[in-house]
Amino acid sequence: MSTATHPGPATYDVYRAPNPTATDRLLPVRPTYGLAQHVARIGPLRSTTGGLGQSLDAAGLLGRGGAGFPTGRKVHAVAAAVARTRLPAVVVANCCEGDPTSTKDRVLISRSPHLVIDGAVIAASAVGADRVVLAAGENSATHRILAAAVAERPGTALEIGVVGVPHRYIASEATALVRFLNSGDARPAGKLLPIWERGVGGRPTLVDNAETLAQLALISRFGPDWFAAVGTPAEPGTVLVSIGGAVPRPGVVEVPHGAPLRDVLACAGAPATGWALLGGLAGRWIELSGVAGIGYSTAQLAAAGGVRGVGSIIVLPPDGCLLTETARILHYQAQAGARQCGPCMFGLPAIAADMTTLGRGDRGALDRLRRRLPVINGRGACSHPDGAVALAASALAALTTHQPGHLRQHLTAGGCPAPAPVVPLGAA
């Protein structure tokens, strides 16, 4: 990914939410870049006495990388595999942030690298790992920050290394990361590779997103009750949100789960009106004024037809065109595929072309999309095609249900006068 299309922390500022959403658990107002500052804020790393999995279960922590899998269940599964195989585990901190709509992890790491590393070290202790891999985009600012942070920490028996991963969308998928670490091939291995049992070096492997590990570090230190002091009963704690697109102040904000969407958008100076892409490139289009009052949480977003996904919100300008944006994203997703599985390798270019020709007035493309989307869904080794299908289906629903006039304009005039696309795309 180039810096032009993928701004680093220098160009992405952190905005504190106004009350009542103000929190600074992961993003302290004063960055705790150095180890001494980090220890002064959080306290020194304590040896864990076990029970991390139970604490995570009690805290209800869901993974923050996109899939939202319960972190406690992953920890239990890897710990059980270690007991079964008698092999030490490996913990991989996924700091790649491969979705170009997301900037939260790079901001988190630029502000609190040691919190993420603490989380990986605590998880390693809990599951019985002797190695921690911090996986970040090769030659990225994140990579440099992590390497400097690791060099600052006192040496222990635990091996902590930073590994550069190719800047490709699909390379940060969990099984692709494991495959890359094992063989240099950063393509998803899919369900054939049970990484919790036979991952890096054939050992039980825990792969968790950077934000997930930072939350884990805080839960381990302060406990699930402290964690649940903010958020909703079903989903306690805070969450990082990347806000971009046509907003006055794009940036990253930390809000409690359940904060009204309008308050989250207000952090970026944006009103809750118009259309937005929620959850990343594999996300959903949603009309903001209809959901302004719903809480930002995995469950509430899903119930409203959205998705938390990678935790990004990209707002379209008032005259933006989600059909054009979707076609462009689908071409990117087709290009980004690993070219391993037929339904993805052939299906994604087909639906990308369908969406493009629909925008140019090809009425038959509607039927082709309706036929092809369910055929492609669920038939890859990883969920990459499913994400593209979900996005395309969401665009079709938005166009036919909420924007029939705009769709008619495309069908009759072969296009629309929308301004340049705003959804950021990096290198495929």
Partner: protein, 68 residues
């Protein structure tokens, strides 16, 4: 007895299509030649021919799995 289901390894599959020749009532091919498999348990009367379909795959991408 546990029931069986058909699974394809999508990475190995090269759209040879021989599985659909062996078991056209159950396996259909998509427009690019890749098999679309039924979800859920395979009716017992199809198990024998499903085994033939799996054996016919030149890259052994099709498998019959026991499901609990």
């Amino acid at each position: 007895m546990s029931s069986r289901t058909l699974r394809v390894d999508p990475i190995s599959c090269r759209a040879h299509g021989l599985c659909a020749d062996e078991l056209p009532e159950v396996i259909v091919l998509d427009e690019w030649g890749y098999p679309i498999l039924p979800t859920g348990p395979l009716p017992p009367e199809w198990v024998r021919r499903a085994k033939s379909a799996a054996a016919a795959c030149p890259v052994l991408a099709l498998r019959i799995q026991n499901i609990p």
